[in-house]
């Protein structure tokens, strides 16, 4: 399957903090820390666990830029 999302970052799951409905999944993308807030349902469907290899997908219009200043 092909995706329209321009940003697809390979990463490894380093922690899963699950609440009742939402889980914050912490990722290590080659030294960069990413956090994905996804439903607990999605964590179960994807069979996510610490160490899972995943792809973080971010739609280009959702990326904010910052510059030093």
């Amino acid at each position: 399957m092909k995706l329209s999302a321009r940003n697809q970052v390979p990463a490894r799951v380093v922690a899963i903090n699950a609440g009742e409905a939402i889980a914050n999944v912490e990722l290590d993308a080659d030294g960069v820390r990413l956090v994905a807030s996804i439903t607990v349902e999605a964590v179960r469907d994807l069979g996510l666990a610490v160490g899972s290899e995943v792809t973080a997908v971010i739609k280009a219009s959702d990326v904010i830029l910052a510059v030093a200043g």
Partner: protein, 169 residues
């Protein structure tokens, strides 16, 4: 718990009045009565039936997706593609739903999007807003915590309860 008259329930599920009536007679959906004692169906049971029907009738294309965290998917035919030099607007007709996606032209070109293609619109669950009919908001407002209600002007004491009573009538 909200209830719906047979005509309204039939419209919501896209079936005929006679079909909805047959389902209540056969027990496929349990019948109840509205506040006036007229035949009706329970909102929760209707929602369950709607979900079952949508799942059983979903196009096979939706099942080909790889495992993804996206909770919301609309699979359908691309009906329109408009591109400028930077962005593209793509419309998908997924059953009764017209879904519009704004994406980069780069993405639209890479996916080869054009009218007639099968495509899936995916929406992250945290990006979905929920709306309810105004009548239902009035009915349930008295049940909300007081701190959540921001009246436009000072209501008389008991105003919300009186409004809720009149909405039920």
């Amino acid at each position: 718990m909200p209830v719906f008259r047979i005509r309204q329930a039939a419209d919501l599920l896209g079936v005929s009045y006679d079909t909805m009536l047959r389902w209540t007679d056969s027990g496929r959906i349990s019948k109840t009565t509205d506040s006036s004692g007229r035949l009706a169906v329970d909102g929760a049971a209707l929602a369950e039936l709607a979900r079952e029907r949508a799942e059983s009738g979903a196009p096979a294309g939706g099942a080909q997706a790889a495992a993804q965290s996206m909770r919301n998917r609309f699979t359908g035919l691309v009906t329109r593609v408009v591109k400028d030099t930077v962005m593209a607007q793509v419309e998908i007709q997924a059953g009764p739903h017209r879904i519009v996606s704004l994406l980069s032209r780069e993405a639209a070109d890479e996916l080869g999007l054009e009218p007639g293609m099968l495509a899936t619109a995916a929406v992250k669950a945290t990006n979905v807003a929920v709306e309810v009919p105004a009548a239902m908001v009035r009915r349930s407002r008295s049940a909300l915590p007081a701190t959540r209600v921001i009246p436009r002007r000072s209501p008389r004491p008991g105003h919300a309860a009186a409004a809720a009573r009149s909405a039920r009538r």
